[in-house]
Assembly symmetry: C2
């Protein structure tokens, strides 16, 4: 999570909503690390989670990442939760909750739906204060606004 | 929808689950057309909808597509519904319903959630029989299996 928080800080420095993510394989090796790049990439799907999933899958040449753990600084939205499930990620660890756009504990609660066919092990809270403060500072500086998109 | 169904047929010919999508701007010009490429691209996020959204956004240099209509041959999943909302797509037209993975009429019903901050105008059913038959034939040929991923 330390590295994911560092990626979130780098995203903020680029003018992006500060969310960072890191994918680690079953042996603890980092597969990919990145932060939100929706503005830079002109891509509404370029959330941190999507970028690391796509990068890790490309690097191993497989659209699934069984055994992998995803660390992310904010509760994933519906889009990212869907991708996490499709990629067969084994474990999802997020820092701050996201009542406005989150889809794990909030809104769609995607992993609890019958239409979700792979549910990762879930763990929330690690690094939550630092992540939440970073997001608060970012949106205060932008004078309002919400969510990662 | 005619063009989206043609993209679905091309996806099947590539060995991908036959789902196709087309994005059209407010003036009726085609912005992007593609079919599912999750296997070919080693990318669990490479659903037809995601590919056309990313391509259209890249081509206009903006992460939003206000005024656009998305035609897709299958009810979008949670991942794609999230991206459709983030891209501010004005209208979503899908062919066949997807009770197993759909997130518009099924499961998360994403656009009805408070965590969804942009809801497109919705229209289902056009081309449903042809799309459903194509999916049925595809999965029969693969002897079982379900969904786009």
């Amino acid at each position: 999570m330390h590295l994911a928080l560092a990626e979130a800080r780098k995203a903020a420095a680029r003018g992006e909503v500060p969310v960072g993510a890191v994918l680690v394989d079953a042996d603890g090796h980092t597969l990919a690390a990145d932060g939100n790049r929706t503005i830079e990439n002109h891509d509404p799907s370029a959330h941190a989670e999507m970028l690391v999933i796509r990068a890790a899958c490309a690097s191993i040449g497989n659209e699934r990442l069984p055994g992998a753990t995803l660390y992310v600084t904010l509760e994933p939205c519906a889009m990212c939760a869907g991708a996490i499930s499709f990629a067969r990620i084994a474990r999802l660890v997020w820092a701050a909750d996201d009542p406005k756009m989150g889809a794990v504990r909030h809104g769609p609660r995607f992993f609890e739906q019958k239409t979700c066919h792979h549910r990762p092990e879930l763990a929330g809270g690690e690094g939550a204060d630092e992540s939440a403060q970073m997001l608060k500072d970012f949106f205060r500086a932008r004078r309002g606004g919400a969510g990662q998109s």
